[in-house]
Symmetry: C2
Subunit: 360 residues, 2 copies
């Protein structure tokens, strides 16, 4: 079963091998060392400030999205949020649930935000900005430099959901003045899902300690305090955290974050070029392509969902279906996880075979 979804993705052999091991008791110096190494490598790969901190949350990416929102913003903030798809819209819902004043920037379908769109909010007194850098639901990468410049000139606290972009697209947390960055275990980290990760700049750490969200589980103060000694306030997904450790060291040994971004970007380009070269009947959906995923619309009349099902049932290949309105018009091909060019050749061969059979 070859997996081109956008998560969970395929893990390396070493990561799978750790998954087979017994999970050790964790209130030990041995596990603390694993966690402190995880923190160090995540900071290094995010290009975070050396005084930045990392919280490892046992939970889905949404747990960390909610934790970020309620730990760094309050009802006194005024937050701008980009609502360009399912995940951007989740931030809007979180702001609503927690009564945090906000305004929505709505990009055109499958498009990024423009300088003009942002300029309309210059000098309007906003204090926070929320964006999910790669809106994975349609495969749109927002221009983080543009957003960073806007936030810097307006002194706005920038929170970036980088769940599907971390290690895929170039990113420099410190240079971009990003205060909070979120990612998850099951995207380019290519581990099983169950852990989400929040990187906090020194300014963000200050906000966390000054803030009093009404929650125990999502209170980042507890995570930060326990994290000082490489521990967590509650029993974490110890097995997944050990797999993350294995994976971070693999990436480090292969050249670090830049090398991984180049590798994933190379696979994305290879796949997109071959699609065109072979004249396969698909159009790119996104006008601002991320490296992690290519969203495609069938142009020959086939249903995207049928293509997903045929690939799964007849070829043992999983691409990523879309739900809701886009179910029949869009499917996605991920470029993250333990995949190489030969895997994309296998997918391309399957698609060419489906074309020969008149299925697409």
């Amino acid at each position: 079963m070859l997996n081109f979804t956008v998560g969970p993705v395929q893990s390396s052999e070493q990561v799978c091998a750790v998954g087979a091991e017994q999970v050790p008791y964790f209130r030990t110096p041995e596990f603390s060392r694993v966690m402190l190494e995880n923190e160090r490598l995540v900071k290094q790969f995010a290009k975070a400030d050396e005084d930045a901190r990392v919280a490892f949350m046992t939970g889905s990416g949404t747990a960390s999205m909610e934790a970020a929102v309620i730990n760094v913003f309050t009802e006194q903030d005024r937050v701008l949020v980009i609502d360009g798809g399912g995940f951007g819209h989740r931030f809007v819902e979180l702001l609503e649930i927690h009564d945090i004043p906000h305004e929505i920037i709505k990009p055109a379908f499958a498009c990024g935000v423009t300088a003009e769109q942002l300029a309309a909010y210059d000098g309007k007194g906003f204090t926070g900005f929320l964006v999910n850098l790669d809106e994975t639901s349609v495969g749109v990468l927002y221009d983080i430099q543009l957003i960073s410049d806007f936030c810097r000139r307006n002194n706005i606290f920038l929170v970036v959901d980088s769940i599907s972009s971390f290690l895929c697209d170039p990113f420099d947390m410190k240079a971009l003045d990003v205060q909070v960055m979120i990612t998850g275990s099951q995207k380019a980290l290519a581990c099983p899902p169950g852990i989400s990760i929040i990187v906090l700049s020194p300014r963000a750490v200050e906000r966390v300690y000054a803030n009093h969200p009404r929650t125990m589980y999502l209170d980042l103060k507890l995570a930060l305090k326990n994290g000082e000694r490489g521990q967590t306030p509650f029993t974490p997904a110890v097995g997944t955290l050990r797999q993350i450790n294995t994976r971070l060291k693999e990436i480090d040994a292969a050249g670090g974050a830049d090398a991984e971004v180049a590798r994933i970007g190379g696979l994305a380009t290879y796949f997109r070029d071959k699609l065109q070269e072979y004249g396969l009947p698909f159009a790119l959906v996104s006008h601002s392509l991320p490296n992690a995923v290519t969203s495609l619309t069938p142009t020959g009349g086939a249903s995207a969902n049928d293509i997903f099902n045929i690939l799964k049932d007849e070829y043992g290949i999983w691409v990523c279906p879309n739900g809701g309105e886009l179910k029949d018009t869009v499917f996605r091909v991920g470029h993250i996880g333990a995949l190489d060019r030969s895997d994309f050749d296998t997918l391309l061969d399957a698609l060419r075979d489906m074309q020969t059979r008149g299925l697409i």
Copy 2:
């Protein structure tokens, strides 16, 4: 490395083998079937009402403790809570954070609650009751029949944290009129940590749908709605949920919950009897023993924490240390996970060897 902690515990070979597998994409009928089977077996083992529902939360046990508190209680409730150790106290803190009126019942150290203690609260207008059935921090099992009778005669909504008791001690959710039961993946379920589980009676499901907690991640309405088709609102710990499925089927094949309770109880009795037979210098801490764990105090002057370290470093055996004030006076031996009598013989031999060496 032989693991007698109270979680994470040792997993079966089959569960470890699933941990080595690639984690599949999960928005599929195949994964829905796994989840619906998980729900069916958890309900069966909890002896829940046939219309009960189960929420599988990606998170620590505390995530489900907080979710339970905020989804079934409100500021209009008056809740009684047993504060007999670290985990009971966590419920008190959750009630405080969420401004839910409450009163604390404080048992004597290492003791259960008595009929007299409860009788003092008869007819006082309480609406809710929170107890962690096995207060694992000291190894005390509360008398659930006593608590159930009290709640029934006072028409009180009973929420039971059964994280360390589920599948260890006899429990019948429906007969006991328990409205919410919480457990976790890393206790008697003997899977890696990362999933906690909430079983909701039909009355509890009604409360969840009527209630509006200020959270997205811990909102059980979302979990219940998605759960109807065997799905989750956010990407769950798919790998751990597949391991739970394997484990639930193992338990079912071996005779179900009653057989597992008898097996774990048998191991606990075996270990406790042998301790006495060999005249090892330990006293039982708890005056109300659960099946999952035996908490012990060294009576020969040795430090409990030293015993933990020597067993780990010199014998490759992990018992469970205590933290805080109890660090030097109490350690715990768990009876859950993939352990059999020969494993307890190994531990007993190590303790006898330490006695010969004059270390205890």
